[in-house]
Point group: C2
Chain length 419, copies 2
């Protein structure tokens, strides 16, 4: 019989092989109620890990209330809050529905979802349409009539328009776009401007054919050409679709999800099923977009977007996107050092995401909780900074807490020591 270490190493190789063999293709845009597993008319999803309503951070609370109003489930915030307290609204993490949401991750029945199919493994994952640029979005816990109108336009006009264009081109190969974008200065988390341009180029001709009318076409193209981070949500859904098939790989210590709810940071591990291992979320270091804002205004780390780091993007490939260093006053050497440091906690490298500045060596990928704990090296995440009440106020980077990796490793030892 093989020793545990050998079993784990082999399981990790297999888990990583599953991730790297994924072929995420953006195949559809549909309302959440039609496609997201377990969705109901009165379900509101939020960025993981799970958290009780009473414990939620400001952006989550405000975002959930906004979504209840937008869905027409309640007429006032007070009514919405009463519904929550009466249990008339179900509040659940995106990750429990094969979904990932940036920032608050607020997703409700009518939210138009990017549907990404991992064609190599036959599973699907989802993320809402990006609302575009701006400091005040539902994504950041904001809600007013203007935001509501924009969400409705996305649901009623942009979503169906994109759906038709994406179907017309036979789906969009997300991994191919990521691979090219990494050659173009995107780390695909805090910066995805190249990915967005490549996506737009890919569907531009189809949009001309499929848009229902001239105003729809002009409004959609205007939105898509101005929203620099639009495709981040496609990349996130692709990441989730690549990681999900590896979840449940027995004996594997590979991380399959990292997510933050503005209070706690949580991870899931391939060999440990659906359990979340959590620790208090850290504060993000970085650049505040206005001089009036500072660290005291910020909510702790928030959002499912760290799914990008979980497949070796974002903070793991800062060396591919030195522009992102501008948020943290770093240097090219620091970016390279950070990527090399992340390689020390990873199982392997991804030849499909080669890093130009490292002579096209593959991005480090597949976080091994053993290595994180042994080296006491906390994974690095590029991310936004959200105000503790609501609104986007900055961007930068944050380390994961180590405690959740330590808990996970203890649980792993308990589960597998006797097997």
């Amino acid at each position: 019989m093989r020793d545990l270490k050998t079993q784990v190493d082999q399981a990790n190789e297999e888990a990583l092989r599953i991730v790297l063999s994924g072929r995420p293709v953006l195949v559809d845009v549909r309302p959440a109620i039609d496609v997201v597993p377990g969705m109901s008319r009165n379900t509101i999803l939020h960025s993981a890990p799970p958290i009780e309503w009473r414990d939620m951070c400001g952006p989550h609370r405000n975002g959930v209330l906004g979504a209840i109003l937008w869905e027409g489930l309640a007429d006032t915030p007070a009514d919405a809050e009463a519904m929550i307290e009466n249990g008339d609204v179900l509040i659940e993490p995106c990750h429990h529905h094969d979904t990932v949401g940036a920032g608050t991750g607020i997703t409700s029945a009518s939210t138009p979802m990017l549907v990404v199919e991992n064609t190599a493994h036959g599973n699907r994952a989802f993320s809402c349409l990006s609302e575009g640029g701006g400091l005040e979005l539902l994504k950041w816990g904001c809600y007013d009539q203007k935001i509501a109108d924009h969400l409705s336009w996305q649901a009623e006009v942009l979503g169906p328009t994109l759906k038709s264009a994406i179907e017309a081109v036979g789906g969009v190969d997300v991994k191919n776009i990521i691979s090219k974008a990494v050659q173009m200065g995107d780390e695909c988390h805090n910066r995805s401007i190249a990915a967005n341009s490549l996506f737009f180029r890919e569907i531009a001709v189809a949009l001309l054919d499929t848009a229902s009318d001239r105003k729809t076409l002009i409004d959609s193209v205007t939105f898509l050409t101005e929203a620099d981070q639009f495709f981040l949500h496609g990349i996130m859904a692709a990441a989730k679709s690549m990681l999900n098939p590896a979840a449940g790989t027995e004996f594997s210590t590979m991380v399959t999800a990292m997510a933050r709810n503005g209070v706690e940071f949580g991870i899931r591990v391939a060999g440990l099923g659906d359990t979340w291992f959590t620790a208090p979320a850290n504060h993000v270091e970085g650049l505040f977009f206005r001089s009036e804002w500072g660290p005291d205004d910020a909510a702790p780390d928030l959002g499912d977007s760290s799914i990008t780091e979980t497949i070796g993007l974002g903070g793991f490939i800062q060396a591919a996107a030195p522009s992102v260093q501008s948020y943290v006053g770093g240097s090219m050497q620091q970016a390279i050092d950070n990527t090399r440091e992340m390689a020390t906690v990873c199982i392997g490298a991804n030849p499909e995401f080669p890093i130009p500045a490292l002579d096209f060596s593959g991005a480090p990928v597949g976080i091994d909780i053993r290595k994180v704990v042994k080296t006491q090296t906390a994974p690095l995440i590029d991310t936004a900074i959200t105000h503790r009440d609501k609104g986007l106020i900055g961007a930068g980077q944050v380390r994961t807490p180590l405690a959740c990796f330590e808990q996970a490793l203890k649980a792993f030892a308990r589960q597998y020591a006797t097997s």
Copy 2:
């Protein structure tokens, strides 16, 4: 009275200030006959320096014949050649008409031209529309019915469509696009995919409004989204428009043009008027696109596209575009070393083209013939490889000959030693 060295240093600072203060804006697309100074119905332009018909390389000869046929000046290649030998066709370098052409640079009366205005200095420069991708283009000396039809479509359909869109957006700021593209892995000579995407995004909405009909719109968007190097020609015209106002700066040893006609390499120097200083063109080292092709098939270095290096792009900022190293089997360190080496022959740095991999230090810019000769460091040019008859067969990099810099420096000494 100041000594000559001080006068030259000050003149070079002034010449470089003129270049860096340029604001190139793509303002129009028009047939060459309408906008290019000194153009006539029977003029054919080619990439500089000047060269007699009998001495031209294969791609130039074939390109000139093709243009005569496309313009309807002759019905057969034999008739076209007879016209040339009778002096019924004027063959002149693009550079003598404020124009730059990639590859053969073949430009005739009906060629649709990108019109770039340097709004800071009030001058204009021109470059033909890119024919798009492909190994067989007039740009590479090829001509047949398919190529003729495509050129006619560009002249009759794409040109007017782009003109309307560019006017609708009030012109396109080319320097802004270059600056962003350099952050996205383009060195803006052998690679301008990001610049092209950014350009397309900027005019996409306007195209929807201004295209004359649905087929025009679809054909134009299809072409623009597929032609990865389309905007190189806009960048070239911008470079020419930035350099021209510095030409004639007395006492300046700054290079204002570098161009190759497949036989000779030539430079112009700010303080030496319109004189070309030439030496035999070198062969390009690089990657041949098919195994059947090798160095023996290649024409020597060809095209005006080295105007990009003349403003500090291309081979001067390889550190910004490590992907381009794939043509020459280089490494990131080699790319960085090359950029640092080019800095040793330059007057200054361009803060508007910061290089991410060098912690955003500015691109080296403004070639000083004194430094080239003193250090015996030949400027490095990224470029295509053309077949000695016709056709694109590869891409790579080439050093300029040193002899033309040495001749220019001697001429400079003669002209200014007694002043």
